[in-house]
Symmetry: C2
Subunit: 259 residues, 2 copies
């Protein structure tokens, strides 16, 4: 593990990512204080990033914000995400069938990222998540992925994350979560029952690649009261079927398929 990383490139990344966790607009002073760097160092990096379109300065208050080049690159990435291309038609079909919002997430470097969201016609517009991280322990997609990782991986991730509590239903005990992963594997789907937002219930199922590794997940998100004994079975069946079909499209030949 040599890892000869380039300091100034890392610092540029630090600056860009600082916007994600603080505010969409920051001054040089704020950045240098947050990152413990001198103003002149930050200034040099920022001017380089600005010159290239990765940041832009607001002429009103001289503050900086992420720039259009990131938009360009981000959309390029989105367009070339294999999982997105494959899953899109299945998701569309599922939304038409269930008339509820369906999310697609992808497992990327120990993080679950929202890749796509298609809204059902009858839903309220939920705050859009695309590009954001989903917590592992409090979402259907997160749990369905955890459940199908190999146990070492899952344990490593579970012990590395903070089990933040979002509602009174969020599971924050690591042993409880591990136990639930068993039943997820038995059922073939995961449930989030108001664990991240009160009133919101999600049903999620894992997606596997050709090597049989879980790499993504889709979920149906709806107001809890709308998932009654009539609709819930349809949602579960629909999500499981779509996830299996997407997996097969990716070359999966394993046994977690719909019977």
């Amino acid at each position: 593990m040599s890892e000869r990383l380039i300091q100034s490139v890392e610092r540029a990344a630090d600056i860009l990512e600082l916007f994600l966790v603080t505010k969409p607009e920051l001054s040089i002073k704020e950045i240098s204080e947050n990152l413990n760097l001198s103003k002149s160092t930050v200034h040099g990096i920022i001017k380089t990033l600005e010159h290239r379109g990765y940041l832009q300065q607001n002429p009103e208050d001289a503050k900086y914000r992420p720039g259009i080049k990131l938009f360009e690159l981000g959309n390029f990435v989105g367009k070339h995400l294999d999982i997105g291309k494959v899953a899109r038609p299945f998701i569309r079909e599922l939304v038409d069938e269930l008339n509820e919002t369906v999310h697609l997430v992808s497992l990327q470097r120990d993080e679950v990222i929202y890749i796509e969201k298609v809204e059902g016609h009858s839903t309220l517009t939920i705050y859009s998540h695309i590009g954001k991280r989903a917590p592992f322990h409090s979402t259907g997609v997160g749990k369905s992925i955890l459940a199908y990782l190999n146990e070492n991986e899952a344990n490593r991730i579970l012990s590395s994350i903070k089990l933040e509590s979002f509602t009174k239903h969020t599971m924050t005990n690591i042993e409880d979560i591990k136990e639930q992963l068993h039943s997820i594997r038995e059922q073939g789907y995961a449930v989030d029952d108001e664990e991240i937002e009160l009133g919101l219930k999600c049903i999620a199922a894992p997606i596997f690649n050709h090597q049989g590794n879980v790499i993504a997940s889709i979920s149906c998100a709806a107001p809890k009261m709308r998932l009654d004994e009539n609709k819930l079975p349809k949602v579960i069946a629909g999500i499981k079927k779509a996830a299996a079909e997407i997996s097969i499209c990716l070359g999966y030949k394993g046994k977690h398929l719909i019977e």
Copy 2:
């Protein structure tokens, strides 16, 4: 103009942007040859970018591709683009009314970038453009923006770009284009009549900010044959009206408004 830019940050940007103009997956050798850098230099920067999620290595062939962190940042930018937030509802409404695809582009640092696209129900899905650059001389949005820039700016841009020919209808003579900009200003909208793609016709109108500067444009894109003497006037009126409404929302108080 001192411009003390950080070399390694610029090189990192060079690498990321190389994917946009070549292929979605490149080897270290290809990158170092393209950028005239030693393999070890490229390797150092790439490993840093990979470590931060800006690139990811394909285990199959050891090549690299843009990573998920760019997706995250790009979506963050998209969400905070003021023009997008303001224009979205007007665009939705316009699509419902016309049932044709509507694009929103934004002028950013001498480039016209596709920000949003809403498809009409009856259209074929055109290849998606979000995040990409639109040529100034061969699109309705590009010409409508050029027409309302101040003349120095417009001339500077026109003489700096390559007037690439996409179809037999593409205008490649700079004087012809300048002349057309006059009539665009008189009419209040721009037309692209198969100038970038055969069979495709677009009607575009400019969007102004509170200072009266053109900063964006919306267009309706449809198969040429569908824009007949019946529909064309509706499209023109609709695009002009929506562009004016969006401008007003942005604080515009000027005279390019619909009567």
